[in-house]
């Protein structure tokens, strides 16, 4: 029995029953029993006439045994004269698809022989096109032995694996040493387009005989996918049916798209055109489509598995972050927002030149001034002033960077921040949850030392299993082996978590950890230090006063710290000013912040991104547009000007890319941050920039500065 046969139709049907009756009466449907088809059939509520592997279903529709099915793109193309397409649905992925790999014992360009299974016609053709685009023509063989054996038996070989075989191969130790090329990723890199793997095709005779039924089926499929995206346990069900872990299933569906949009259409045409060039098709078909007739009330935005009904997004978000009021607008907040808007309005009245001249004269600018600058479009002028002040406050032709490692020691977390793509709920081992043991951490530290690194930035989730003893033991162990290695660890929310977990006061926690070897505190978890904003994005997380209070305490105890801002999500522009104000005020008291770093929110499919996209963030109409590189450079420059009491400003190449991260050195930054031997948190949200010491030296030199490797406390380690 196919996993798809187990769908509980009655419970999950969506779309109109009239449509369902019409389709069931008029059309014989085929179904491929693969996981990627699941969302379209999940709430369809119609029994297929035929089902099986792609080759079966493709053959059935061509033979006229069924009228309609989601079939592989290349098979559709071979019979396009007899088929028309449903306009709304296809199966596509823009980039990595995670289940179609060429596994090679050489670089892709050097492959001379490849083994394939004929099971998925589209993947085989796709692989051949990708070879051709790289100018190679490996010989194609039928897969007749285990992949590992084939790869071991000769050089410059590859094996094409799809579906479950591919998913299993990913975790196979026997194949771990080989190169895995994701064909979807490769296709995107070559063409800039999504790859359409399958399309819904209707036999032309059936479409002409029953056009309303075809249109109705199109609507039902849209409804099913939308429902699938909206239901919390849909992916769980898929995971159970197909016997894979939930995390893998979630990742898989994140990558798949079902909306047959303009880009997908271009991707399909591009694929067919290249296939035809390659001789796989006699002609390039001009797809024709079933006419679309949408319900009047069906005005929800489109159908990708990623976006959904705002109401569904809302309830799902509230569940995720664990607060029923996270998206509310309250009377207290109304008053706060009014003050923020007033601040912004006053800013717009200010003369920018006057603000900049005062700053240059060494007069501290106020919050209205900062609001003025953040709303200005005079990027270069503001950059110049920021740079001039940088040369005053960090008077050196050097730009520093640090070689250290991010060690995210655990991703188990109780706090459920809406913007986090990194954490797993405690116990979610299946989903990829982990806790590094001391040996693993020591190994990472040893590697860091071997690479010339001087410190580790250790941050992790709020893991209920970890009490203060765990940290004390860890820090002591590290210090025994590496007494001078700098432990830059535990942001204020983690300190607060340990204090609650171990029933100790914050000063007690900090004192114990300092004595165990903690050297300084990172400024993580600051996000935007405005409680209204924090209640939306991370209702269970440390509030503003606590965050600043923990920093103040740490600083008074002689632990130095850093400050950060992550903006561009659900905060108003003026609330960025309030954040900077909070940091500057504490710094006036303590002088304990070494540096300030700001970066833009990396949406990457996080729950908060869905809220923003759906337009249901509180006070959405007052939010500034999503940040661009311009916003980033301007904000960094304004932070340099306004926060006049922190010596170092760090650019964020990790989130902005090397080019903008380097240009940021002209906009008030004097530090490029870390080469990041490991960066898990940001890369989970899709930012995957990597750099080496060489890249840093090149970038800094090109900007006209002297590169200096520093330690955490900004002491010179090495001059270049």
């Amino acid at each position: 029995m196919s996993p798809l046969d187990l769908i509980e139709h009655s419970a999950a049907n969506s779309g109109s029953d009239a449509d369902r009756e019409l389709v069931a009466r008029e059309l014989r449907i085929g179904r491929i029993d693969f996981l990627n088809m699941y969302p379209m059939h999940w709430a369809l509520g119609i029994e297929p006439t035929a089902s099986g592997v792609p080759t079966d279903v493709n053959a059935a529709i061509v033979a006229g045994e069924i009228d309609v099915a989601c079939m592989s793109s290349i098979e559709y193309a071979r019979h396009a004269d007899e088929l028309v397409l449903l306009p709304s649905m296809c199966v596509s992925a823009e980039g990595a698809v995670g289940s179609i790999f060429a596994i090679a014992n050489t670089q892709f360009e050097d492959i001379t022989d490849v083994w394939v299974t004929p099971q998925s016609a589209t993947s085989v053709v796709l692989l051949q096109l990708l070879f051709r685009l790289r100018g190679i023509q490996p010989k194609v063989h039928v897969l007749d032995a285990p992949p590992a054996e084939i790869l071991a038996a000769g050089d410059r070989r590859a094996v094409l694996l799809i579906g479950d075989d591919a998913l299993r191969a990913r975790g196979s130790a026997a194949l771990a040493k080989h190169v895995f090329v994701d064909l979807g990723e490769r296709w995107l890199a070559e063409t800039g387009l999504p790859m359409v793997y399958a399309v819904w095709a209707v036999r032309r005779d059936a479409a002409e005989r029953a056009p309303e039924a075809a249109a109705a089926l199109d609507r039902l499929l849209v409804a099913s996918v939308r429902r699938f995206a909206a239901e919390d346990d849909a992916i769980d069900q898929a995971a159970v049916r197909f016997e894979i872990d939930r995390h893998s299933a979630g990742t898989y569906f994140d990558r798949l798209h079902y909306d047959f949009g303009i880009n997908e259409r271009k991707g399909l045409i591009r694929f067919l055109r290249l296939a035809s060039e390659q001789g796989q098709l006699e002609t390039v078909p001009q797809p024709s489509f079933v006419e679309q007739t949408r319900d009047e009330d069906d005005t929800l935005p489109i159908t990708t598995a990623g976006s959904a009904d705002p109401e569904v997004v809302r309830s799902s978000y509230l569940t995720t972050v664990g607060s029923s009021r996270a998206l509310d607008e309250t009377p207290e907040d109304d008053a706060h927002i009014e003050r923020v808007l007033e601040l912004e309005a006053l800013g717009r009245e200010r003369d920018i030149d006057d603000v900049l001249n005062r700053a240059l004269d060494g007069v501290r600018i106020d919050e209205i001034d900062a609001a003025a600058l953040l709303q200005s479009d005079r990027l270069v002028d503001i950059g110049q002033v920021a740079h001039a002040l940088r040369m005053e406050r960090a008077p050196s032709d050097a730009v520093t960077f640090i070689v250290d490692r991010n060690i995210n020691y655990t991703n188990y977390c109780l706090t459920d921040c809406g913007f986090c793509a990194f954490y797993r709920r405690p116990g979610d081992v299946q989903g990829g949850g982990y806790l590094h043991d001391a040996d693993t951490i020591l190994e990472k530290i040893q590697e860091t030392v071997d690479l010339g690194g001087t410190a580790a930035l250790m941050q992790g989730g709020h893991n209920p299993e970890l009490d203060i003893e765990w940290y004390v033991e860890l820090f002591q162990t590290v210090k025994r082996t590496h007494p001078t290695f700098h432990l830059h660890a535990l942001s204020p929310p983690e300190i607060q978590h340990i204090s609650r977990r171990s029933k100790l006061s914050v000063p007690e926690v900090l004192g114990i950890l300092r004595d165990a070897g903690l050297d300084s505190l990172p400024g993580g978890g600051g996000e935007v230090l405005v409680d209204r904003v924090r209640r939306v994005m991370a209702p269970k997380k440390t509030k503003t006063d606590d965050w600043l209070g923990i920093m103040r305490t740490a600083q008074r105890m002689g632990l130095s710290t850093t400050a950060t801002m992550m903006y561009g999500h659900v905060e108003l522009l003026g609330e960025r000013v309030l954040h900077m104000q909070g940091v500057r005020d504490v710094q006036d008291e303590t002088q304990g912040f070494r540096s300030f770093t700001s970066w833009t929110f990396q949406p990457g499919g996080t729950p908060l991104a869905k809220v923003i996209e759906a337009g249901i963030a509180p006070y959405a109409k007052h939010l500034p547009p999503a940040p661009t590189p311009f916003t980033y450079l301007l904000t960094q420059a304004v932070s340099r000007i306004y926060i006049d009491n922190i010596a170092n400003v760090q650019s964020s190449w990790v989130t902005q890319g090397m080019k903008v991260g380097q240009a940021a050195l002209m906009f008030g930054a004097n530090d490029m941050g870390s080469i990041m031997i490991e960066e898990n948190v940001v890369s989970s949200a899709g930012t995957t920039y990597r750099a080496s010491t060489e890249d840093f030296v090149h970038a800094i030199t090109a900007a006209g500065f002297q590169p200096i490797q520093r330690d955490t406390l900004y002491r010179t380690v090495k001059e270049y």
């Binding site: 479009d377 002028d381 661009t628 902005q656 006209g704 500065f705």
Partner: protein, 413 residues
């Protein structure tokens, strides 16, 4: 808020300047005076990127206000088979039999043109390898057939180097003859590729066998006389020195002076150059600094790095300041990333190129930006920089204008 006067601006810039060598250039730039070769060198050697950028931004603003152009275009590279082996090129194959070698037929080119037309493209940009076995007639016929198929689309085709190649294929035809034949067949304008860096020293190193600077300039001179508008480029970031970059800009500026003088003469007297067949005089419309991409070229093996962001911004700024007679300077997002292209709008650029549907040449050298972006991405970038998005056609006629301000709130996301 009143806008600052020129004197205020000079005072502000003087106050903020980090590199004192730039001070003597402030007044001339604000007054719109021409900068010398030495001035250019001062600018390009300065590490005070923001002051250079500020000056370039003022020069840009004087000409274009807040407008930033983009267009809806498509690139087609008709073949990658090429008689030359430029060392910076990851695209070419020297033999038809080489792996991955391809050459589109007329039918295939027309088909792609028709596809582009369906997508609402206003320009098709065609360049390719210098295929030794294609005939002169083939090229002319290609232009004719594409023009017939999509008369509404502007055909921007062939670099100067290819024009020379066509002349040779035609049995020694003059540039003039080739250009006139192409215009008669439906050519709209010419792209600016193939200029590389004019210095012969550099050309010997990176593209031996390609035509000389003088030859490149001569083709554009004749094109302008025939009445063809053209673009110009420089491929920077490899073996060239800063002096050679400035020299390149000055040489472009000199030719533009000539062409604009001919245009002025025509406007004053109605007289056209003898070889003109279009009734109007051509000139450079746009300069495009092209950042070198070392991946998949011999230089990658030598450990060459990509140009740094500051270098890309510097090139945009210095180009704007030196090329006082070329109206548009483009931040070509495919080469320098969309992110940096946005920043470049504050360093003298007023154009971000187009939606660029296929760009095989750069792509084979590893340009990582997505090849196809929607117009709305460009609109968002331009607005995000505080500028007004304007869709243009190839010859810079305005087609559509957006509000400068994005809609506020969630709708903008």
């Amino acid at each position: 808020m009143s806008s600052p006067t020129v004197t205020d601006q000079a005072a502000t810039i003087r106050r903020l300047v980090q590199d004192k060598a730039l001070i003597p250039l402030i007044e001339p730039v604000l007054a719109g005076e021409r900068l010398s070769f030495d001035d250019g060198l001062t600018l390009i050697e300065s590490t005070d990127l923001l002051t250079v950028g500020k000056l370039a931004d003022l020069a840009r603003k004087r000409r274009h206000g807040d407008d930033v152009f983009f267009n809806h275009n498509r690139h087609i590279n008709h073949t990658n088979i090429c008689r030359i082996k430029c060392r910076f090129c990851a695209f070419s194959r020297t033999q038809e039999t080489h792996d991955g070698a391809y050459a589109f037929s007329h039918d295939e080119m027309v088909e792609q043109a028709l596809e582009a037309a369906q997508l609402g493209v206003t320009e098709i940009h065609v360049v390719g390898g210098e295929h030794p076995d294609i005939t002169y007639e083939w090229y002319i016929e290609l232009v004719r057939r594409m023009h017939e198929a999509v008369p509404q689309i502007h055909l921007k085709m062939w670099t100067a180097s290819e024009i020379r190649h066509l002349g040779r294929l035609g049995g020694g035809l003059s540039d003039t003859q080739v250009l006139q034949d192409l215009v008669a067949a439906g050519l709209g304008s010419m792209p600016g590729g193939g200029a590389e860096v004019f210095s012969q020293r550099v050309r010997d190193l990176v593209c031996r066998g390609k035509d000389t600077a003088e030859e490149w300039l001569e083709v554009h001179r004749r094109a302008h006389e025939v009445g063809i508008k053209t673009n110009c480029t420089m491929l920077y970031g490899h073996v060239e020195t800063l002096e050679e970059r400035v020299d390149h800009l000055v040489r472009l500026r000199e030719l533009q002076d000539e062409s604009l003088a001919k245009r002025a003469h025509h406007e004053a007297t109605g007289e056209l150059p003898a070889i003109n067949t279009t009734g109007e005089t051509g000139a450079f419309q746009c300069f495009i600094p092209l950042a070198f991409h070392p991946e998949n070229t011999v230089f990658a093996r030598r450990g060459w790095a990509f140009t740094a962001g500051s270098d890309d911004l510097r090139m945009v700024a210095v180009s704007r300041l030196m090329l006082d007679n070329i109206p548009n300077v483009k931040a070509y997002w495919i080469m320098i990333s969309p992110e940096l292209a946005q920043v470049a709008l504050h360093f003298g650029a007023n154009d971000v190129d187009g939606t660029v549907m296929v760009e095989r040449i750069v792509h084979m050298a590893g340009a990582k930006t997505q090849q196809e972006t929607q117009a709305d991405t460009l609109v968002t970038l331009i607005r995000g920089a505080g500028r007004t998005p304007v869709e243009r056609d190839t010859v810079y006629n305005e087609l559509r204008r957006w509000d400068k301000q994005a809609p506020t709130g969630a709708a903008a996301r």
